[in-house]
């Protein structure tokens, strides 16, 4: 039973995270301080929210590697707007609108033009980086009003992150739309024959992902008090996908959960932090991250094969 496996997985993840945190609190000074834990959660938030977005996409069988790039683009555009007009409300909405719009383009190409998701989101990623770089001329966008960072401060971010996680979780598991995604990812042909609005549903997953990228943009911009084209570093997308897969998403589609994504993101960031603390240089970080993804793929393949052997 998929849901049972999913819940078991989540429990394992929670235990692993607690274990690592426990070890760290003993070995590193001040690790278990509220401040530090808060910091970690704030770090997790943008990656975590984008992981939520990619979870929606991947459950229905797709992939979206443009999320960090969409995040950067919506950030630089909206940040410039806020810097110029001082309108924080409108500016914040702009993050979401730009993200959602770019996501809509992705979704339309995949669902209605029947193009391959990897290719579409890859092109989007390239185009977004181009837009972001051109918009900012390579500089960072500053001059944001202080209020912006104050409103989206650490505590707000954490509360929002958890709140979004809960909302998305309920949406995915208990709404008609969420269930549709599982059907589509499980067997797209059956979903079509059952009369489900497959094209619309798939397109919308990319819009959701785009929104999530926008939200992540708000957080990142507020924390740094600036936005730059290089915000969406290459490594982020790998973090996001790995987090989703660790959390129970299968690349083939049909499985995944928000709780799993949440825990997966936390685990990834903690691993990042550990590597940092251990003074592991950048190159080895890349190596380890790459190995983690391959390992995650191996686990996914083993999971799928285990599933199919029980017949």
């Amino acid at each position: 039973m998929a849901s049972k496996i999913q819940s078991n997985l989540s429990i394992i993840l929670i235990l692993v995270i607690i274990f690592i945190l426990a070890v760290l609190s003993f070995t590193v000074n001040n690790f278990a301080s509220i401040n530090n834990l808060q910091n970690i959660l704030v770090q997790v938030a943008p990656i975590g929210i984008m992981t939520f977005g990619i979870t929606f996409v991947m459950i229905s069988g797709g992939i979206d590697i443009s999320l960090p790039a969409i995040m950067a683009t919506s950030s630089v555009i909206s940040a410039s707007f806020i810097a110029k007009t001082n309108n924080i409300l409108l500016g914040s909405i702009m993050f979401l609108l730009v993200g959602g719009f770019l996501g809509l383009i992705n979704g339309t190409a995949v669902a209605y033009l029947k193009m391959v998701p990897l290719v579409v989101t890859l092109s989007m990623m390239t185009v977004c980086m181009g837009i972001a770089t051109a918009w900012t001329d390579g500089q960072s966008v500053g001059g944001l009003p202080e209020d912006f960072s104050l409103i989206f401060s650490g505590t707000t971010v954490i509360i929002a992150f958890i709140g979004i996680a809960i909302l998305f979780g309920i949406f995915l598991k208990n709404s008609e739309y969420g269930r549709w995604l599982f059907y589509i990812g499980n067997n797209e042909n059956t979903a079509i024959a059952s009369g489900l609005p497959v094209k619309r549903a798939v397109c919308f997953t990319y819009v959701i992902a785009g929104f999530c990228a926008g939200m992540a943009g708000i957080i990142n911009t507020a924390v740094l008090s600036s936005a730059r084209a290089s915000m969406g570093a290459d490594s982020q997308i790998l973090d996001i996908v790995t987090a989703a897969v660790i959390g129970g998403v299968s690349v083939k589609g049909g499985s995944g959960s928000i709780l799993g994504a949440f825990l997966g993101a936390i685990l990834i960031i903690i691993i990042n932090n550990v590597l940092n603390l251990l003074g592991v240089s950048d190159y080895y970080t890349g190596l380890i991250k790459g190995l983690i993804i391959i390992l995650a793929m191996g686990i996914d393949a083993a999971r799928t094969r285990l599933f199919h052997f029980e017949s």
């Binding site: 309920i170 269930r179 079509i192």
Partner: protein
């Protein structure tokens, strides 16, 4: 003592889950013989060919080639033994040339020099041309297979079979997509191949073809050999009788009230390939059977009506109370249910539990919460109810569909539409791969619902089933509606005659 190729099939048995495809088949074939194989759908022809071709392994029985027992465990072995299975589905590689396709399995043979890996295309072309000339075929060996017409592609398939030293050739419904001229070429070719240390099996529904080119004909029925004989000694009627069995023709009871209100009307429907200008109507509470050979376009007809395949022209009208209005597929879908032909392919969500499968077609019903959330408890209740309705017992609604037996899977695939209370149910092969008990249950279910006013459109390849269920039957052949049988006209003979002996 004849010194030639012999093939003996002794007591082959094969069963699949829920179905005994071959009960006990024994056939012998002599050198130079063209053996026709005929039988209704499900009689066992395909299974027999698949066994010879190494695609399927028999449960028991033996195959002897030239007196030696051979175990044909996979297609590659079959080829080594000289069996060439020329399937209905083209097995060529589109982006390779004709000669490359012909010799693809054994390309190393064509190296220019012993250890030099480059192919000698010129000598390949020479041999390819020889083969094609043997077949009376004129194709440019350097052209891409994707550029050829279907008939020409089939010639290439045959050439490939011959190049691999095919001695036992299995032709599976070879003429189904050929033009008249291509058919004649094929017959000429088969005539040429005859008598040259070759045994040919020729499967077809077309009695005329069998009489034209075969020496002997074997009739399969229900997984066994129902009769056989030399073509000059046997008559068409005898063959039909062998195919249908000696049961006395039962008169159909006039069991339903005359249908008045039309529920569905299809006008001049044309799809991309099939259907071709099909028109018919369906009344409330009526069971309409769609009859025809495999590949005749029945499934395409249904899929085009439902908008799953592209429609080129034509209209579909629907009305709950006799007032028909033109309707688009998305709206039509709200009122109908559709059981697809391949439940594993697009009929079920195999890795999901039963209850999620059942509620998938009508999730809206379970969004009763004020927050618009799904009520899982109600879903599971409804699923439990459906399960009991179709007599799938001793399973929990939480069980993964993958773990159910074939018959139970089929019942779930049908019953999931019931919660939608559809006005029309489209069923494509509703009892395929289902055991006898479940078959009867499904058929009774159909009767019950029809008497409650649900209309049915049923595609079936089993003659007894379609006769037993339908009030009316339309016959589809090559995408066109070629015959319509009203209640009084439904009989095995009429049905068989509608599809065999056709050109």
């Amino acid at each position: 003592m004849e010194n030639g190729l012999t093939l003996e099939i002794h007591n082959l048995k094969k069963s699949f889950p829920g179905v005994q495809a071959l009960k006990d088949v024994s056939i012998s074939a002599r050198d130079g013989e063209i053996l026709g194989l005929i039988g209704v759908n499900g009689a066992g022809k395909s299974t027999l060919m698949n066994i010879l071709g190494g695609v399927v392994i028999p449960d028991s029985g033996e195959i002897l080639i030239n007196g030696e027992i051979k175990r044909i465990k996979d297609p590659a072995t079959a080829e080594k033994l000289g069996v060439a299975f020329i399937q209905q589905e083209i097995q060529l590689f589109e982006n390779l040339t004709v000669q490359e396709n012909i010799f693809i399995a054994n390309l190393k043979k064509w190296r220019a020099f012993k250890n030099f890996p480059f192919l000698n295309l010129k000598s390949m072309a020479g041999e390819a041309n020889n083969l094609l000339a043997l077949l009376g075929c004129d194709i440019d060996v350097h052209s891409m297979v994707s550029d050829l017409a279907v008939g020409e592609q089939q010639m290439v398939q045959i050439a490939r079979a011959l190049s691999q030293g095919g001695k036992i050739l299995l032709f599976d419904e070879p003429t189904s997509s050929l033009t008249l001229k291509e058919k004649q070429n094929l017959f000429k070719l088969i005539g040429k191949l005859k008598g040259s240390n070759v045994i040919i099996f020729y499967i077809s529904h077309h009695l005329d073809e069998i009489f034209e080119i075969c020496d002997r004909v074997v009739v399969l029925r229900d997984g066994g050999v129902a009769g056989e004989g030399r073509v000059e000694d046997i008559s068409k009627d005898e063959i039909i009788r062998f195919m249908l069995g000696h049961e006395i023709e039962q008169s159909i009871e006039y069991r339903k009230q005359p249908h008045q209100k039309k529920v569905l009307e299809v006008r001049n429907l044309c799809g991309e390939r099939y259907p071709k200008d099909v028109s018919f109507s369906l009344a409330k509470g009526e069971v309409l059977g769609i009859w025809g050979l495999l590949g005749s376009g029945r499934t395409e007809l249904v899929r085009t009506i439902l908008g799953l395949d592209k429609k080129k022209s034509g209209e579909v009208l629907f009305g709950e109370n006799g007032e028909l209005q033109s309707i688009n597929p998305q709206n039509l879908y709200k009122h109908i249910g559709y059981l697809t032909e391949g439940r594993h392919f697009d009929g079920l969500f195999l890795n999901m539990p039963i209850w999620q499968n059942i509620t998938s077609v009508f999730l809206k019903k379970f969004v009763t919460n004020k927050f618009k959330l799904l009520n899982e408890r109600e879903e599971k209740q409804a699923a439990k109810h459906s399960i009991s309705q179709v007599n799938v017992s001793a399973v929990s609604e939480n069980m993964l569909v993958r773990k159910l037996s074939g018959g139970n899977q089929q019942k779930i695939a049908i019953s999931k539409w019931f919660i939608k209370k559809p006005k029309i149910l489209f069923l494509d092969e509703p009892t395929k791969g289902v055991d006898v008990g479940a078959k009867a249950e499904i058929q009774n279910l159909i009767f019950k619902m029809a008497s409650e006013g649900v209309s049915f459109i049923i595609i079936s390849s089993e003659i007894e089933e379609i006769m037993g269920l339908s009030d009316r039957i339309i016959v589809i052949h090559q995408g066109e509606l070629v015959n319509e049988l009203g209640t009084m006209q439904i009989s095995k003979e009429n049905l068989m005659k509608s599809v065999i002996g056709r050109n």
